[in-house]
């Protein structure tokens, strides 16, 4: 690495402190002389984001015919040297990183409430997606996306890692015990079982972000409305209820002119059931509540 940097004087004098910039100095900025500045003078200052030399030092470095231009300036006054000028000539070795750096990695996949927007923006701007580290090997710990825009129309493929994970077999003996079956249940199977509980006609599981995960209520348009509307509505009601002394909100039942439906929400999952003709038979609501909790335990944070 060269021990000197050859810097254009015009750039230095152009950025001279205004109160010191005499006509003689301004005149130099119009020309193209240069000076050799020792790298040893610059390198220790690089980390500070500012490079300065004393007037005395600058005078020492100037060509003989220009030295007198600095007459009358206090030798101790500091003169900044523009970083742009330095970087035109600075060898890359001068800003090498320390060798013992440890690159920070998140050792597990964690999708956050902001992951969806980050991915959307990455697609929009054409930049590299901000997927979690590729070294990650464990299953997701948390998936907490927030709906930021109108959800895409159905049918929808699993969008997030947790959604994908939800479709894996649910190896829970407890879940099998709840439905009294020896069959290993995947998420579709578990939701189907809920839809067959006494007094129910259908069951739909959707993500908090409005995406339908599985199940059916009979009418796709109706399912879309339910998936998009009810999670947000439930959350709003839940937030307000939590400010009272009623306890946390578990279920909301909607009595409509033609049909009744009830919504449950835990974690990022929203489950809606369609009633046959009247609200829950004894124990059914509690059973559904338990099943959702079990699915959350198996799949989410």
């Amino acid at each position: 690495m060269s021990s000197n940097l050859r810097l254009g004087l015009n750039s230095i004098f152009l950025n001279f402190p205004h109160d010191l910039a005499t006509p003689e100095i301004r005149e130099v900025s119009q020309t193209e002389p240069w000076i050799e500045v020792p790298l040893s003078l610059i390198q220790p200052q690089l980390a500070s984001g500012r490079i300065i030399v004393t007037t005395a030092k600058l005078r020492e470095l100037l060509p003989t015919d220009l030295k007198e231009r600095l007459n009358g300036i206090d030798p101790a006054v500091e003169i900044p040297i523009p970083l742009q000028e330095i970087f035109k000539h600075l060898p890359s070795e001068a800003i090498q990183r320390r060798q013992d750096q440890e690159i920070e990695q998140v050792p597990v996949t964690i999708a956050t409430p902001f992951t969806l927007q980050a991915r959307e923006d990455a697609a929009r701007f054409g930049s590299a997606p901000t997927k979690p580290s590729e070294l990650l090997s464990e299953p997701p710990l948390v998936e907490a996306p927030l709906a930021s825009e109108a959800p895409e129309p159905q049918p929808q493929a699993p969008e997030t890692l947790a959604e994908q994970n939800l479709l894996n077999p649910l190896s829970s003996e407890r879940l099998q015990a709840i439905f009294m079956t020896d069959k290993t249940l995947d998420l579709h199977g578990a939701i189907e079982q809920i839809g067959k509980l006494p007094g129910l006609r259908g069951c739909l599981l959707s993500h908090q972000n409005g995406r339908k995960l599985t199940g059916q209520l009979g009418d796709p348009e109706q399912e879309s409305v339910v998936s998009n509307l009810l999670p947000a509505l439930f959350q709003q009601i839940s937030d307000r209820i939590s400010e009272t002394k009623f306890g946390s909100l578990e279920t909301v039942t909607f009595y409509c002119d033609r049909q009744q439906l009830s919504t449950f929400m835990q974690g990022q999952l929203c489950l809606t059931v369609l009633h046959e003709n009247r609200p829950f038979k004894p124990g059914v609501r509690e059973k559904i509540q338990t099943v959702i909790g079990e699915i959350i335990q198996l799949n989410a944070f």
Partner: protein, 211 residues
Amino acid sequence: MPIINYARKEIQFKVVYYGPALGGKTSNLVYIHSRISPVHRGDLVSLATASDRTLFFDFLPVNAVVLNGFKTKFQLYTVPGQVIYNATRQLVLRNVDAVVFVVNSEWDKMEKNVESFRNLEENLQKQNLSLDTLPYALQFNKRDLKDIVPTDYLEYVLNNRKRRVRSFESIASTGLNVFATLDSVTQLLLHKFNQEYVQPRPAGGSDPVRS
């Protein structure tokens, strides 16, 4: 350290956007505010001077979903970048859980970037916190401007600690990498929280969230 409210079953995380004046901290929050559904966020509270500089702080609450039965809330703050407002910055930094350091990529702001970064280290130290352990990310903002500082120099100056954190080139005014930065730092935050509070402890150990 996050605030855990057992009575209301809430966990509250505080993320602070730090950096020199005119770096784009408020622009970050404005963009985040614009992209999150109103259902999940509160209003962006901003107290600015007549010249539109942040006077006290900007504040944006974001409600997320449930972690182990606890409702999570993210509180996003900015600090005023001007040197004279250090008392305010110290106040805003109290109980911080993660930091996004917003860097101004203009050449003539390099000194201010370094000054602000050192100020962050000092203010954290006063709270017995350190960038060695606190989740944080660097955001090199204003990358759309001409004649800007190359990233290798920004990395050399601001990311040369033993722990090398993630950095993002951003344009906060358009949103480029705004959420990527926040997502990254939130991942670190949740991972740390998971390690410290959620993962099963040895027999007899306490577990604040699961208890």
